[in-house]
């Protein structure tokens, strides 16, 4: 595929197709969030406050993700510490 084909390919996609693709992605993402329990944001906030007692971090440096795998759930905690 040369560079001209690349542009031709892109031009072929109608705006409706772009809309559909964007919607499928955002809707799937939001449905995933919907099934999460209500306490996650509060849990994240409290964790940030606890960690802040010892290390200075921002709100978005703690990520809390709940994953469902079959009949067990995994609570994943991701804390990014600032560079020293």
């Amino acid at each position: 595929m040369n560079i001209f084909d690349f542009f031709r390919e892109r031009k072929k996609q109608s705006s409706a197709a772009v809309a559909k693709e964007r919607l499928q992605i955002i809707v799937a993402h939001e449905r995933g969030q919907r099934s999460q329990p209500d306490y996650l944001p509060a849990l994240q906030q409290e964790l940030v406050e606890v960690i802040r007692k010892y290390v200075n971090i921002d709100n978005d440096q703690v990520q809390v993700i709940l994953e469902n795998q079959g009949n067990c759930s995994i609570l994943e905690l991701n804390v990014t510490l600032p560079e020293r």
């Binding site: 109608s14 409706a16 809309a19 559909k20 964007r22 499928q24 809707v27 939001e30 449905r31 919907r34």
Partner: protein, 271 residues
Amino acid sequence: MAKILVVTSGKGGVGKTTTSAAIGTGLALRGHKTVIVDFDVGLRNLDLIMGCERRVVYDFVNVINGDATLTQALIKDKRLENLYVLAASQTRDKDALTKEGVGKVMEELRENFEYIVCDSPAGIEKGAHLAMYFADEAVIVTNPEVSSVRDSDRMLGLLASKSQRAETGADPIKEHLLLTRYNPARVTKGEMLGVGDVEEILAIRLLGVIPESQAVLKASNQGIPVILDEESDAGQAYSDAVDRLLGKEVPHRFLDVQKKGFLQRLFGGRE
């Protein structure tokens, strides 16, 4: 057994009130005693679309507060024997509607009507929540456009989790998709999401497709529900949707570009 039907969308301006008026009128036309209830407190508009704006004496909030009885507040339609309207209040008090109050009015309406059509306000605030809370079935009005589809999906999530049926563990609310302002010509050109696309994303049963039509504005100008304009494409599409709501199998129309006939092409014809 009476059925409570909510017409909702999340997004504003997609045609909820037009749809509530059309479906309510369609149900009454088919012999069912029907009331259409405006839940848009502060921004009453159903009365205008139904053409009864000068006959509103008491409203929904008056009934809840006990200032008027339901019989006093119900406005009887001048065209159809078994059609009534309950107008929304113009109050600016956001807490005028309460779950208990609305629940009591719904119970009373259930005893007197076959269908109760709830015209939801836009958004996901209290009014919209109470409009769908007691519902047995929901008509999700969606435009083939990104923000409307996303908001509809959001609304589906709320119907499945925040309604009385969800909270009490009863059978879930039956959901119907109504695609409005559909323009087949633009869909063909790839400028607008098609019925199939929206159905695929929202994954709910399609109740009908209402074509973008000049008849809708014409009808609202005159205060006549568009379903009574039997000549119009939108009126016919709503009529089909009501039949489907009542369980009839009706093929979908107005999904393709209407080919102009020879004479129409020659003389232009009505657009």
